[in-house]
């Protein structure tokens, strides 16, 4: 029996009293860890390119083994607030505290992969056999884009549920 689909579980503003599900909680935590990890990796990589920094230098400045630094940077779960601070210090940088954004304040990105746009029903299937991906990517609606998400439905007799998300074009 189908419950909420992958796409239907949304991190919505909480006006309900029911607790967040285990899946929602673990998703949110894992996603945040991934984003923090990516942010740090990008900074470290840019420092490596610009200033020739490497793991050994970071390790030397922190009194650690280079292998420890590689291990810390290899997985999101290996990062702690303290290790993030230390990496910043080693790179003469200041790790800023996190910022909370209300869901209602988070802007929806305008870009979507052309195939996803077509799959979700915003782009017509061209009759020509060759798809100009660049043209599809550059295509912009004048006002809004509407994404329609089709939730899971394979059982006989079960109607499809469509969920629309309004996206305002900038």
């Amino acid at each position: 029996m189908y419950t909420k689909s992958f796409q239907e579980l949304k991190l919505e503003d909480t006006t309900k009293t029911e607790p967040k599900s285990e899946r929602e909680k673990s998703y949110a935590k894992a996603r945040y860890r991934n984003r923090v990890h990516e942010s740090i990796l990008k900074f470290v990589v840019s420092e490596m390119k610009m200033r020739g920094v490497n793991n050994k230098l970071i390790a030397d400045r922190l009194g650690k083994d280079p292998g420890q630094i590689s291990k810390i940077l290899s997985k999101p779960s290996n990062l702690t607030i303290d290790t993030i601070c230390e990496i910043g210090m080693a790179l003469d940088a200041d790790a800023q505290p996190p910022v909370f954004l209300r869901h209602s304040e988070i802007p929806q990105s305008q870009f979507a992969h052309p195939l996803i746009e077509r799959a979700l029903g915003t782009m017509p299937i061209p009759s020509e056999p060759v798809v100009d991906v660049k043209r599809l990517r550059d295509h912009k609606e004048p006002q809004t884009k509407r994404f329609q998400l089709e939730s899971a439905t394979r059982s006989a007799g079960r109607s499809s549920e469509f969920q629309s998300i309004e996206v305002s074009a900038s």
Binding site: S5, A30, L41, A112
Partner: protein, 171 residues
């Protein structure tokens, strides 16, 4: 019909399903499609342990779908390269899950199976060969006349990849 149109056709008929990032504001910058079996598994209710695991897996798949930075610990090409079977690794939690699939074109991944890493032994284990055979069979079943992207160069399959070793040539 092009591979893109074939993918859309399969999606329309319900053979594959698009995975888009779930979080607010996150856009699907890469195309990730999963087979019906994966979609069913991810949309079913499980006990708390697996609900947590699948929540983490969902966040992990969002890394690909949202166009975030990808490294060799995230994505890896299975030996031999000519089989064109890749795995998205999720080693963070126990048991580690692997999402197996093939690339239709750059930034377009068709996931055919999710498997627990602890169900497989070393790279020479028969289980890996069976896994790749099943992935290739599912690909042929979906896109018979279109070959997957066959390359060991990660930059030809994804944008936004870190420098690293994504393939171990075990020959």
């Amino acid at each position: 019909m092009s591979i893109q149109n074939e993918i859309i056709h399969r999606h329309t008929e319900g053979s594959i399903f698009a995975i888009v990032p779930k979080a607010k504001g996150a856009a699907p910058r890469r195309a990730l499609f999963v087979t019906e079996e994966i979609w069913t598994e991810l949309n079913s209710t499980h006990d708390d342990f697996w609900e947590k695991r699948y929540g983490e897996l969902q966040a992990h798949l969002d890394v690909f779908a949202s166009g975030a930075l990808i490294g060799p610990k995230y994505l890896s090409l299975l030996y031999p390269a000519r089989d064109a079977v890749w795995e998205i690794r999720n080693p963070e939690s126990n048991p580690s899950l692997r999402v197996i699939g093939l690339f239709a074109q750059r930034d377009v991944f068709i996931a055919t199976e999710i498997i627990r890493r602890d169900q497989l032994d070393g790279w020479q284990d028969r289980g890996w060969r069976e896994l790749k055979r099943r992935a290739q069979a599912k690909w042929r079943n979906l896109f018979n006349t279109y070959p997957p992207l066959i390359t060991a160069d990660v930059y030809k399959v994804v944008s936004g990849a870190e420098v690293g070793r994504y393939y171990k040539d075990r020959a």
